[in-house]
């Protein structure tokens, strides 16, 4: 029989419920505040873009006349850059994660590498820009081409993809590996036929989030010296280019001189935000759709 007993203080329970309610109110206020700031920002940008964001804006080249200026070049530049970033980060990122999670022994070296990949994910992006400038632009003589920009951006988001893929691989239940090994499957067969299919939604979610980071990032490209004004539309990986966030950056800088640039920048921001919003929604849909097997 249990000997120690204590009386239950009903006032204490009431006090705890009170405290719980107060804490909940506090957090509600905070979230409302944050949302309000966000809404104000969105509202001002949306308002500024009205009248400027139209089909003509999306399909025209840059122009010295604000009314005629468009972001076709920046859109194509962003697309081209992603053409470099997506295959490089997916292939290198997933391969690295597979090696680290499935093949590498848990030795000191491997643990050192794992920790530092996570660290790399939090290095300021301008540092990657400087690395890209030194290595891709100068040493490999790629200048400020799409290839140089894409490679630099790949370096920046690679750690994110690696970490996301590692988490996705780790989340595959061990009983599935056991089942496969128990059937006489070797490691690669198990990875290819069992582990990767289960981990794929997680990997894709992480990869899409990494891609939206790459689309929105400015600093590393500024460090590479991506040109301000670019009248020509790029048509090969070795051409110079500009991207949406850079376009926003320079228009905002110059808005002191030419007031209309504020509106052009706002309209570009809306385009970029909508793109990112769509990408993130896709990531969420993938995650919800596939992650209920177990």
């Amino acid at each position: 029989m249990k000997e120690t007993r204590f009386n239950i203080d009903e006032n204490r329970i009431k006090r705890r419920i009170m405290l719980n309610n107060r804490v909940r109110d506090l957090f509600s206020v905070v979230i409302v505040l944050v949302m309000a700031i966000l809404l104000v920002l969105l509202y001002r940008i949306g308002k500024d873009s009205i009248g400027w964001l139209d089909l003509q804006f999306l399909t025209s080249n840059l122009s010295i006349f604000p009314e005629k200026a468009g972001i076709k070049g920046a859109i194509i530049g962003s697309l081209y850059m992603m053409l470099v970033v997506i295959p490089i980060t997916l292939i290198l990122g997933v391969a690295t994660a597979i090696y680290l999670e499935e093949y590498a022994n848990d030795g000191k070296v491997q643990r050192f590498i794992k920790i530092n990949i996570s660290n790399l994910a939090s290095v300021p992006s301008v540092i990657f820009g400087l690395l890209g400038l030194t290595f891709f632009s100068r040493m490999l003589n790629l200048g400020s081409s799409i290839l140089a920009g894409g490679l630099t951006m790949s370096l920046l988001v690679l750690p994110i993809v690696v970490v996301a893929a590692q988490e996705a691989l780790k989340a595959v239940p061990s009983f599935l590996r056991e089942a496969s090994y128990g059937m006489g499957a070797d490691k690669w067969t198990t990875i290819w036929r069992v582990i990767l299919p289960v981990a794929l939604p997680g990997i894709l979610t992480g990869a899409i989030l990494a891609m939206s980071r790459a689309i929105g990032e400015t600093a590393p490209l500024v460090a590479l010296g991506i040109p301000t004004l670019l009248m020509r539309i790029p048509n090969s990986l070795m051409d110079n280019f500009t991207v949406l966030p850079i376009q926003i950056y320079y228009w905002t800088l110059d808005s002191v001189l030419t007031r209309e640039y504020t509106f052009l920048a706002a309209a570009t921001i809306v385009v970029l935000l909508v793109t990112l919003f769509i990408l993130n929604s896709i990531a969420i849909v993938i995650r919800n759709k596939f992650q209920k097997t177990f």
Partner: protein
């Protein structure tokens, strides 16, 4: 009983196993016979799972495991590389305690093994599927839904699917680690009924906590205690006239 070599599937000689510094199996000597059902019983933590997982070297996936001694599989030591571990596990199938189908269709689960062995012929794969599912007494329940996800099956059906999956590669031995412990009595009975049929084609080693189950289905029973093989004999002897006091204490429920 004659000791003809072809009748001995496994000959375990002086097997020791350590998890780090902790010895889990101590000097096990045991011969497992062909087309018999061998039951492994003993209290929790005595090394039953460790022992069966050693028989197909699955135990090596655990970090820090060391073994000494020999396990001869039809005369070949499984710890030397004469027999590749992939080949051993193809010839020795395993059914786990918790049903572990792949998150694929029922059909894809069954043909997983044949496919990794390079079989592509659709007709042949379908034939294998039907035979294996019939062998696991599951065919009639799933024949109209082979393309449904395996996780839409009940726990007992999932376990029989796992049995079918391991049968699809024509193993010689099937190892089962408490295959019915996660199942209800009806599902358990279905699997027990299966056993009689299984031993015509396979050698079965089954770990069980359920003494009645061991007595009902097995030909020989091994009693483990604290990592040692205390007694190994014909099932009726173990449950009727055990030689060792500890065996008797265990089967009469005095401990464990």
């Amino acid at each position: 009983m004659k000791d003809n070599n072809m009748d001995i599937v496994y000959d375990v000689k002086g097997l020791n196993l350590w998890y780090g510094d902790n010895q889990a199996l101590k000097d096990i000597n045991m011969k497992i016979e062909k087309n018999k059902i061998t039951a492994i019983i003993g209290p929790s933590g005595c090394g039953k799972s460790t022992f069966v997982k050693t028989l197909n070297r699955m135990i090596e996936n655990v970090d820090g495991v060391r073994t000494s001694g020999e396990i001869l599989y039809y005369g070949d030591d499984i710890f030397t590389n004469k027999l590749k571990v992939e080949e051993l596990r193809t010839r020795v199938g395993m059914v786990f305690q918790k049903p572990n189908p792949f998150p694929k269709s029922i059909y894809e689960n069954v043909v997983y093994g044949p496919k990794i062995h390079g079989i592509k012929d659709k007709k042949l794969l379908m034939k294998i599927t039907e035979e294996s599912l019939r062998g696991a007494a599951l065919w009639d329940e799933v024949k109209d839904r082979l393309n449904e996800n395996a996780y839409s099956l009940s726990g007992g059906q999932q376990q029989r699917l796992c049995i079918a999956r391991s049968m699809a590669v024509n193993p010689e031995v099937i190892l089962m680690d408490e295959p019915t412990s996660a199942l209800d009595p009806v599902a358990t009975m279905k699997i027990e009924e299966l056993m009689e049929d299984l031993k015509k084609d396979y050698t079965v080693v089954i770990v069980t906590h359920n003494m009645q189950q061991a007595a009902r289905i097995s030909d020989k029973t091994a009693f483990f205690l604290n990592g040692e093989l205390i007694e190994f004999d014909v099932t009726s002897k173990i449950f009727g006239t055990p030689k060792d006091q500890r065996t008797e204490d265990y089967i009469t429920g005095r401990f464990g």
